[in-house]
Symmetry: C2
């Protein structure tokens, strides 16, 4: 008599599978949709099953951050100038974050808690040291640069990335209209910028100019 399909017949849950589904939920519906109960449901398991793999929800969030940080591709250090290498490294970090804007906010506080995050920070500190910054300045600037890259993706102009295309377009129109309706005597520049503020016309240039600004700023404080 064949047993009906049940939990013990399935491939067992793993930390990795749980984190994977959590990221998928965040990508499609936002971080607030990532609940213990929802992640459990998506794995055909009761909520309490997750507590075998994670002591508490915070550890699941740690796992998400670590997984995204692990996707950073850091090429071997080359003979470039420090500022070009810094640009490249920050871009490598950004490229890992962009596919998962909804979880980016988890990362800032966790960089120094994970192996791949430590490697990223070590690399940036090294480049700033090459540039001639003191240990204290390098520490301050590196932690700021990495946070700023995260901000770049969480603060991309336009509605949140989680929305369906139709909702997205509707929100863009609404935001543009709201800015366009302002008092022209008081907010002339906002009115002129309504289009550009309502959505990000060109993501690539938004991101590369953002990183460029950070690197140029780092050069600037070095000279000062």
């Amino acid at each position: 008599m064949p047993r009906i399909a049940r939990a013990q017949d399935r491939s067992p849950l793993t930390r990795e599978r749980i984190v994977e589904t959590a990221i998928a939920i965040a990508d499609s519906e936002g971080l607030e949709a990532v609940t213990i109960r929802r992640v459990a449901t998506d794995n055909d398991v009761t909520p309490m099953a997750l507590y075998w793999h994670f002591k508490e929800k915070g550890q699941l969030l740690d796992g998400i951050a670590e997984s995204v940080l692990a996707s950073i591709v850091l090429p071997a250090a080359s003979g470039e100038s420090w500022d070009r290498a810094l640009y490249g490294t920050l871009h490598n970090f950004l490229d890992a974050l962009r596919p998962h804007p909804a979880v980016a906010e988890l990362i800032a506080m966790r960089i120094l808690e994970s192996e791949p995050g430590l490697e990223l920070a070590e690399r940036v500190l090294g480049l700033l040291s090459d540039a001639g910054f003191s240990v204290e300045q390098a520490a301050e600037i590196s932690s700021y640069l990495l946070s700023a890259i995260i901000t770049l993706v969480t603060a991309e102009p336009g509605p949140e990335r989680v929305l369906a295309q139709a909702d997205y377009d509707a929100q863009v129109r609404q935001k543009r209209a709201a800015l366009g309706a302002l008092d022209p005597a008081r907010f002339p520049h906002l009115i002129a910028s309504a289009d550009a503020l309502a959505m990000c016309a060109n993501e690539e240039s938004y991101y590369s100019r953002g990183i460029e600004l950070l690197v140029a700023g780092t050069r600037g404080v070095l000279r000062a």
Copy 2:
């Protein structure tokens, strides 16, 4: 026969009083402690009373953001160079955020939804326009600069600002120890920076150098 003290004898709740207590809770215990029920309790009122003043919790958070934005002091535009004026304006924004680091994260998405936020954005756009940026570039850079200021306060090195002094010190020690225990062959710069990364030695210089970096970066992309 005297009535016992009851709800209808107290001064009535106001939007402002509610927002005020919400900010106080966030300041002392963090944003996650701000619940409808807790804010109600602190006002000696049932949770449902808040729904007379706010349609949903999101509107309370909007109110918090607006209140903090309203505390920005923007001096009248002076004859300074655009970059010095930009430094000053960003500092004005920062000064409004610093007393309330726990709610800073609410502000980024809400700047263009409130009167004082619009005034801040208009000012920054004007300065970038003076500098010679195109409308599109000014829009991109302004939204990035304002987010970056918020990041400066949410990403300040060291443990979260909500903790009691003893817990704060303990966390600093723990973080420093963790970094100090890394493999010196792989993470030499992190080990050297352990002290500086575990806490912010000098907040004032951290903040002024952060703004300096952003202004220098803006100058840099203008020349490019």
